[in-house]
Structures are given as C-alpha cells and as structure tokens.
Symmetry: C2
Subunit: 521 residues, 2 copies
C-alpha cells in the first residue's frame, strides 16, 4: 500500500518528470509524501494510445466481463481498507464517517452499474425486420444498438475524492459501456487517487482485460488537462468542478478539428423557494433543514442550496433571523484545500450591500430581489457554507424571480397543501422545470440518489449538456452512440440484435418493447 508518486499507464507505475507538487493535509496545510509529477505530453500520448488499443478489445467484450470488472474494482477498493480512508481524510479534511459513506456509495454504484451492464438492455436494441413485399419499395432489415464511443478522459473532483474521482460515476459509466478511461487525478488528493488507481489496475488484470483499459495521470497545470482533452484519440470527457475549469475544457473540446462531447458538471445555486403556508406551519423545521443542507460537507456540495427565496413578511424576517442564529452556531469545518478556503473567504468578503444575518462559521446574507437581479456578482456560486436569502415583494414575485434564474442542477419548493394547489404555484413549477434538472418538494437538494429516475444535470451553466445525467443508471448514456446494421444475416449480427435474443434483452421490435425472439408468436 506504499504510495509511489507515479502515474499508472498500461498498468505500470511510471513518471518521466520530477516531482512538482504534493498533496497537503487539509487541516494543517503540511505537505504529504510522496511528491507527484506533472504528466508530460509523451505520457498523455502513451496513456491514450494504450486506451485506443484496449478499446478494440473492450468494445467487443461481453456485458458479463464489464460487470466482473466493475465488481472487481469495488472489491479491490474495499480491500484498501482504512488506509484509503485515512489518506482521503488527510488530503481533503472530510470526516471519516463521511468518507466511509462515500466509499459505500462508490462501491454500491460500481455494483449497480455492473448489474446494468450484465442485464444488457441499456444497448436500446431496436429491430425493424425486413418487409420484402412493401410497395413501392421493399423495406430492408434494420437493427440498431448503442455501442461505446471510445477512450474517455475523466477529471477527478475535489469534493468527492471517491464517488466522483478515479473510480467514481464517470469512470463506472464509461467502463460499464465498454470505453477505456484515462483519469486526470485531482491534484488536491493525489494519494487517494493513486490508491484507487491501483485497485482499478488490479481489477483490470483480474478479469483479463488489456492494461490500457485504465490509466491515471497526475498534474495540476491547466495545460495538462487541456492536452488530454485535445488528444485526437480521446472521444469524450467527464468533469465535475468549477465553471471556469469546466468551460475551458468544453471550449478546448469544441475547438478540436474533431469536436467531442464534454459532460462538465459545474456550478449551481440550487434555489429554494419557501412559500408562505409552509413558513407559517414549520418555519423552524425548514430553517433547521436548510442549515443542515447548506453546511453539509462544509457547504462543498454541487447541490448546496445557495439561494433561498421568500415573500416579504414578519414571518420571513423571523425565519431569516433564525437561520442566521443557527448558522452562527455551526462548528467551523475544514475545507477541502487552501485554494477553496481562500476563494470562499474572498467571495464572501466581496459581497457588497447585503444584510448579514451570520458572518460565520456558516454565512448567511439577505438582499431584495431587485438588488439580486441588478447585480450579476450575486448570481455566482459561492462554494462553501454560505447561502443568500432573497426577499420578493409578493407571491407573484416568486415566479417572476424564477424566470430570471440561470440553469440549475436542482430547484426546491417548500409549500403546504394550501400553498400548492393554485395556478401561481403551477406556474412556478413550470418555470422551474425549464431551468433545473431536478425539482424537490418539501425536502433539500443535497443527497443525490443513485437510481434510474435520478437526473443530476441541468441547463447551462449547471452543466454543459442538460440532456444527460452524471448520477444514476442513465449516466451510462453519455458514452455511447447508436449504430444500425442493415440486412445482416443473423450469424453476423451482434448478439444483442440476433433473432433469438440470446442475451434476453428488452428490445424494441417493430416499435414495441418485448423480450421475445423476433418472429416468435
């Protein structure tokens, strides 16, 4: 379990460059051994070249093989035991209990995606058998299925060192559908990344897939990530992080001679609308729940509620005061790294003309809707334990305010039955559905289920592609493309498209879903 301070390319630990950076203990800012190198252009090329060779094998592999790989990764991560948690705790400052939960979620996600890969119906097989007698022209036999897109670049996220990093949702989605992965480790947790990478390398070897199926590269310079995205054989990108970094990768991918898709999950205010009836009935409970939600993980969640909207009233003033009081009583937390702590301190210090309800440890401020709408600086996500209350003048102002919002991962409404029945609320929900990927009623947006019905992704700038999700089984749809086979004899068809349905898939035959063989009564 000793850390080498090296990349992993084709299963080998190597590095051409000398050490240039260290992980840092988040609590003490002391450097952690070993040092890590910046990936060179040659190393990036080597990792992608190996991935491209592995793709030939991986694309032709069975769902069973891919499932075995994902399950082996989960097992190997568990085998890392407390050493993994200890290193992640040191590098990120996240509490051990949280990291234990995140490891559980990471492994559960790998096993869920293994089930989906094994079952196989994700290929969305569609079969339109030939109609040789059709007039004026016969219809050919057409059969279509999803196939892997090619080597995927995955960028580890600072705030989920396990669930959205080396073996997180992006990697699991890509591998489940037959794509090799080149991970750029987040430089704030290189040791955690190296441990997990070794688990993946062992898992790849254990199922007999080519070593090029997975690579880990270190680096903290923007040019390193950009070079990976610009490599001509990289076919898609998964990223979770800041708007600035995500947009830079998106722009680089779009400017390539051959543009590629980028799934960047970036920034979101996750607005919470508190309606009058709910405020009257359970102001205290909402304030308590909101405090929990916006300070969870020291406010370093992409779904942190950063904006809370209510109608001007004495009850709203009391709610604001209570939230400020709760925020002042929150214990101070350790942030993920010094850069995030500094950015948080600067962003809150820069806020002008706001009413401060708490300046810390968790921060709460309040402005009028008019002031918010006038000042684009207030629309920026502040990553950390901060939320901004916005007062609208009347109930009609809620929907008007919602219309002015940018794209969001989530939007939340707290309302009682008396609030919710009318046309005003229907209008609010309608507007929110156009601006957010997930709408939560009487709950809080932190906490993202890994489930078929999860949508974690919304209109820009919350993500670069609102048509996809980065959490839940639908996340697999990001790294695939359809291919149709016309007039192939059964023996030459991929198994998923053969008449007898040997894989037992749910398929669309003549437009109707069925698991039956083609031609069966």
């Amino acid at each position: 379990m000793a850390l080498s301070g090296l990349h992993r390319i084709a299963g080998q630990a190597r590095a051409a460059a000398a050490t240039t950076f260290h992980g840092v203990d988040a609590a003490t800012q002391a450097p952690l051994e070993p040092g890590y190198p910046e990936a060179t252009p040659e190393e990036i090329h080597a990792a992608v070249r190996e991935a491209t060779c592995a793709f030939e094998v991986l694309a032709a592999s069975s769902g069973e093989t891919r499932a075995a790989l994902l399950e082996a990764i989960a097992r190997e991560i568990e085998v890392l035991g407390d050493a993994l948690l200890a290193r992640a705790h040191a590098e990120t400052g996240l509490p051990l209990a949280r990291l234990t939960g995140e490891r559980g979620r990471t492994c559960a996600q790998l096993r869920l995606f293994a089930q989906v890969a094994r079952e196989g119906s994700w290929v969305d097989a569609r079969i339109d058998p030939a109609l040789p007698q059709r007039q004026p022209l016969p219809r050919p036999d057409l059969r279509r299925m999803l196939q892997p897109i090619g080597p995927v670049a995955v960028f580890g996220a600072s705030n989920f060192p396990l669930a959205f990093s080396v073996a997180g949702g992006d990697t699991a989605s890509a591998l489940a559908t037959g794509n090799p992965v080149v991970v750029k480790a987040h430089p704030a947790h290189p040791g955690t990344s190296e441990l997990v990478a070794d688990a993946v390398v062992r898992a790849v070897a254990s199922v007999g897939l080519p070593a090029g199926t997975f690579a880990l590269l270190h680096g903290r310079e923007p040019r390193t990530g950009l070079a990976l995205v610009r490599h001509p054989d990289i076919c898609a990108v998964g990223f979770t992080g800041s708007h600035g970094a995500g947009r830079a990768l998106f722009d680089a991918a779009a400017a390539r001679p051959r543009p590629i898709p980028v799934f960047a999950e970036m920034s979101s205010l996750n607005p919470v609308f508190v309606l009058d009836g709910a405020l009257g009935a359970r102001s205290q409970a909402i304030a308590e729940g909101l405090k929990q939600s916006f300070t969870l993980g020291v406010g370093q969640f992409c779904t942190k509620p950063g904006l809370v909207i209510g109608v001007a009233s004495p009850a709203w003033d009391a709610f604001a005061a209570r939230l400020g009081e709760l925020a002042r009583a929150v214990p101070a937390g350790v942030m993920l790294h010094a850069g995030i702590a500094r950015a948080f301190a600067e962003a809150t210090a820069d806020l002008r003309d706001v009413e401060w309800l708490s300046k810390g440890p968790a921060a709460v401020a309040r402005v009028s809707a008019a002031r918010f709408l006038d000042d684009p600086a207030l629309h920026r996500e502040i990553f950390g334990p901060f939320t901004l209350l916005v007062t609208v003048p009347d109930a009609a102002g809620l929907e008007r305010f919602a219309r002015a919002l940018d794209g969001q991962l989530t939007a939340t409404v707290h309302g009682d039955p008396g609030d919710l029945g009318g046309p005003a609320t229907a209008g609010l929900f309608h507007v929110l559905a156009q601006r957010a990927g997930r709408i939560v009623l009487n709950g809080f947006p932190t906490g993202v289920e890994v489930a078929p019905a999860m949508q974690h992704g919304g209109p820009y700038p919350s993500t670069t592609d609102s048509r996809f999700t980065s959490v839940g089984t639908a996340a697999l749809a990001r790294f695939v493309r359809p291919v149709s086979y016309q007039d192939f004899p059964d023996g030459l068809r991929p198994a998923a498209l053969q008449d007898a349905n040997p894989l037992g898939l749910m398929r669309l035959v003549n437009g109707a879903p069925t698991r039956a063989a083609v031609g069966a009564a």
Copy 2:
C-alpha cells in the same frame, strides 16, 4: 397560393428589408418571382421572442395536441397540391416524380411522429417510488421524464426541399416534443419554403396553438443564420448541409455564453467495400447498383457512395471499367443550383494523378490506397455524380484502409458467404462500426428508412453529434432533456408520472419496463 416574398413571423407575412435575392430556375438559371428579403436582426429577434412565448404553451400541451398539429401540417401540405411540386421542381431541378415521393415521405414522417407523440412513451418516464424504511436513510420518491428543450432553429437543406426543409424531419422532431421552431429557409428554394410555411401556419392556427410556434425567415448571408444561432433564447439547432456551413454554426453555438447543442449533418464519403467473392459472383449487378446509387438525384444525397474499395485483381479492373462505362451512359442531370454545379465541376477538375474511368456525365476515377491515404484532398466529399475507386493491394488492406477513414454516415460491404465468415471480415465490420452510423450489407446506402431502428448520423465530420439521429423516430431525442421530480404528491406530478399511469405509457418502474400503475400487483 400567390407567393408574397415575405417572412412568416407569428403567423404574419412581413419583411422590413427590400428584396435582395430570387429563387432561380435550376434548369434555365432564370430568376423566379417574387424576390425575397434578408431577415434583419429585428426580425430574427421577433421570431425568437414569439417562439419563446409560445414555448410556455407548447411545453404544457398534450401529446394529442402535438399529434393533431403534425397531422394538420401533413394535410395542409397535401392541399398545396401540384403548385408545390411545380415550384419545387423549378427551384431545384429535381424531377416531379422524385418530388412526389419526397412529399409522400415528408407527410408520412409527420404522421409517424404524430403517432409517437400521441402514444407518448417517448418521454422515457422512470419512477423510483419512495423507500421510507430504507437504512441508513429513507429513499425519496423520484420520477423522471423528458421535456422539450426550448425554441429550435432549423436550417432548410438544399437537397431535400421538402423532407429536410421547412416541415422536414428536424421541424417534425422539434414540434412532436413540444418545441417551437424558427426555420431559416434555404435560399435556393425560397418559394417552396414559403408555400410549406403557409401550410404550417394554417396548421398551427387550426389546432389553436400560439402563432409563435412556427416562423420562417429568409436570407442567404451567413451572418443571418449565425445571428439566429447566437440568439440567447434559441436552445438547439438542426442543420443539413455542407461541412463549412455546419461547422460555422457549431462553432458559433459552442462560443455562446450559454452553449447549445447543434445537430449538423454535414459530409460523408459513404465507403463501399467490395469483397472478392462478391465481385466474382455478381460484378455486373454490383456495378449497376452502384451506378444507380451514386447518380441518384444527380449524386446529391448525403448517403451517396463516394468511395468504393476493392482488392487489386483482373476482376476489380473489369469492375472499374464496367462502372466507368455505365457512368458515361448516364443521362446528364440538372443540379440543385448553380453554386453546387460549379463546386462539382471545380472539385472534379482539381483531382490530380487519378485514373479517369469516366469524365461524365457521371464521373468515376481510381487511385491506389497509398495515393488516397497520402492526399487529404481526396478525402473531401464531392457533392454530385462522382465516385472514387480505391485499390488496396490485398485482402488485409481492406481493414487497414477502413482504419484510416474519418467518421461516416454509412459504410457498406458487398460480400458473399465465402467472404463473410472469416476473422478478416469480422475485423472489418468491427472497424466500420466505430466509424459509421449505419452499416449496410449487400445493398446501397442511398435510401434512408424512417423507422425506429434507423441511425442517420455518424462520427465527425459526418455529423457534429454521433449520439443522435436525424432520421427515424429516435430523432425526437435531439430536442429534449430529462427533469426529475422528487417527493411530489400525485396531483402535482405531470400526468406521465402519476401513479395510475393515466396516459397508458410504457414506463420504467423500479428499473423494470411496464405499463402497469405504480403500486399495482
């Protein structure tokens, strides 16, 4: 049925600018009345603003309403009768029989998409009911469905004045899923576009949807199309045309403050591999079929086979000679417009160091694989009746050549049972599946079925987004995005997500497809 020479904005015929261009008789080059204006920035803004207002209504409309709209459009197009065909014939030079077929296809496509909209399961409803007893945390109720993305800009294609223009596949896909459409008419057939636009305007009014649901703008300057794509309220783009124009729109969309998806179907060589056994058994039939395919519509199909690959042999030489002979006997055709005719003449005249098998009316040339791979100029699509034969030295050269190909809409293999069984052919199919959206066996790529299993779209540069199709019912997936609803009471859920399944949709409940109500045994 008189043509006004005006745009259609919110159902009104209007234009601020004076006439700047005319349609032209493709056969005689004589200008056709009336003249047409270039859309001004104000007109573009007005069309998009009306679309944005209409979106509120359209997004909330039922599948039945959208189906009624699409069916009304088909009826109104049929009501236009011979006047539509005559104008399209004059503007494009396409024969009346072809245009009659294309009209049939356009109306059939509208009616098929109406069926899909009415049936409703395209929303991909996914339901994960709450698990209140789950440990360590209860699972919330999560329900996810696809929703329209917002106003779509559609660019009419020159080569399909009906099926890929004002009321073509892009418009039908967008309307079926609840998105308003602003069409930029192709300047080579403004009169045809105006006639069809009037049909759409009448259909919109007949079903009681807002007039902003549809607009038609004229223009021939690149800046006009770019201004439409850059409008902040346009949410997606559909385009069929040249690589240069498609890439310019893609780049403009990616550079927006809020990037939007662009579905540009651009250029493809549609390679055809002729294996030795097939050549020995039916050389004459393949040559005849290929001639038909590459000269169909004067070679102005996006699926025209522009590259034919065979192994050096006397039989291949004889095939080449025969194809040249057939090409010389093809009657000369009228091309879509003078610009395309000029580009075709120049591109064929520019070819250097090729063996000419026919210089016209249909053109066939031949080069070695080594020569082809050395000269990027030979990799460019030549739009029109031209195909390039490529000789590879041996059977292993077929797969090697396939690996060097760019992304393609289609790839075709002609092979007899003796050719197809072995590992060499398996490798070829595998490589082609990574480079093309549709693989045709023993057929020809022209002829694109409108069916659930059709994939019309491949890796770049054939399209800007290989994950989607522009033909077939899956084309609807381009203009939608998922939204999850968490912990909504049944009465506040969209009908598609309600427990009782009042719309009778096929849904994914707890990960399993069913039409049953939630909670039903």
